[in-house]
């Protein structure tokens, strides 16, 4: 849940009685280590929605390109909503909707289980996946449509099936275009994981902040969090660069 942070800094001043802040390097290193232990969780929180996004994003992108009636419009609205609203609001709205929906269904079926019993991490995976699919669909569609129309028409004219056209003409050419775009989306998702503490997941931010609660040394905590996110993003960026070199060399 959203926690108001008002007055945290004032607390620090009362606790230390000084206006000058002395950066505590040993505490910072300690926090950095705590943050490192949360890297696997952060990666899971970005990878699982990423995989979902790739699979369902490809599906929805193809539905969009093939202009399947009704579905095309629905997907368009879904993407428009998710791309034009702040991610925090999306996450909070989906969170409450899931909780309330879960309770309503549980009540209707006279089950004992309530939304409070669902681990928040599961909800985080679901919510981030829904967000990710919206972003991925647009990215994948851009990449698929970068292939020249004439080539698709030519393939049709020699009697290739649509599935064969995708497999042999479109995807090989769209892949080099797609990788940098998808990479950026992946970085966006990784940064988006910094919001899941709001729905009660004990993630990197919560874990590091707990340690700082006793001493009010939040600056050290947040810099440690920032360093980890920064390094993660740089690593992902380098990975994408390598991958796109590889793909460009092959095709």
């Amino acid at each position: 849940m959203a926690i108001l942070q008002t007055g945290l800094r004032v607390n620090l001043r009362y606790a230390t009685g000084i206006n000058m802040y002395k950066f505590d390097y040993s505490f910072f290193l300690h926090e950095l280590w705590v943050a490192v232990t949360y890297i696997p969780l952060t990666l899971k929180l970005s990878m699982i929605p990423m995989v979902f996004g790739l699979v369902f994003g490809t599906l929805l992108a193809i539905l969009r390109i093939q202009k399947v009636p009704v579905l095309n419009t629905l997907i368009k609205i879904y993407i428009l909503i998710f791309r034009s609203m702040p991610m925090v609001l999306m996450i909070l709205i989906l969170y409450f909707s899931f909780m309330y929906g879960f309770d309503t269904i549980a009540e209707l079926m006279h089950l004992k289980i309530r939304s409070g019993n669902v681990p928040p991490i599961i909800l985080a995976y679901i919510i981030l996946s829904i967000v990710s699919v919206a972003f991925m669909t647009e990215s994948i569609r851009t990449a698929l449509q970068s292939v020249q129309k004439g080539q698709v028409e030519a393939a049709h004219s020699i009697g290739m099936k649509t599935s064969a056209i995708y497999r042999r003409i479109i995807i090989p050419q769209a892949l080099p275009v797609a990788i940098p775009i998808l990479g950026n989306t992946f970085i966006g998702l990784t940064k988006g994981t910094a919001l899941v503490y709001m729905i009660g997941v004990t993630d990197l931010i919560t874990g590091v902040k707990i340690e700082a609660n006793a001493s009010y040394r939040y600056l050290e905590a947040y810099i440690a969090i920032a360093v980890i996110y920064w390094l993660l993003c740089i690593a992902i960026e380098q990975g994408i660069r390598l991958l796109s070199h590889r793909v460009n060399a092959v095709s």
């Binding site: 942070q5 007055g7 609001l89 709205i93 309503t104 947040y222 920032a226 993003c233």
Partner: protein, 233 residues
Amino acid sequence: MGNIDYFSFQRVAEYFPQLLSRLHITLIITVLSLVIGLLLGTLIAAVRLFNIPVLKQITTVYISFIRGVPINIQLFIVYFGLPALLNPVFLRFNIDLNMLDAFSFVVATYAFNSAAFLSVVVTAAIQGVDKGQLEGARSIGMTRGQMFMRVVFPQAFHIAIPEFGNTVISTLKDTSLAFTVGVVDMVGVISSIAARTRHSLEGYVGAAIIYFAFCIVLEKGFSALEKKLQVYK
């Protein structure tokens, strides 16, 4: 137990005016930080374009940091870090940065943030202008100032519009996180509504609708501007 009233559109409508009454805070944060960000971003772009040693490396690290760190973490770092960093200087003038309210730090964060993104936009736009045109302009005896005002700027402005629009929209969307440091903007007011009525979902839906409307209007506005400029090309 029983039927708990989870969501009603009536409440969304009821909370809407309360959200709108704080909308100006959201917009002021966006506009102020974009103006400061554009100035700072142009400065950074100048450093990068003129290849000033050391400073250029610093801007590279700065841009990479801003791009790699989630905006809500940046908010807290500025909120806690700026007073810690600058107070030794400011206290000499009897100014205690700790006494400033969260609003100033939020504007500072978004300004730093948009400066990084806008510097990339400005750099790319100026580099996008054909080099041959500069040579042409010099050959007919234009001064550097004339070259910039008559040749580079109009074209760079045109190139920059779409990306500039994206930055404006993403800055607007990012302001939805200002509440985390205690600014009572459109999203921040939802927690006080929730404390009073025990309903927060309607507040979030209302805020999302307002953000949605603004994003759509901005997007349409920028693409219209882009089209309009295309006519004169």
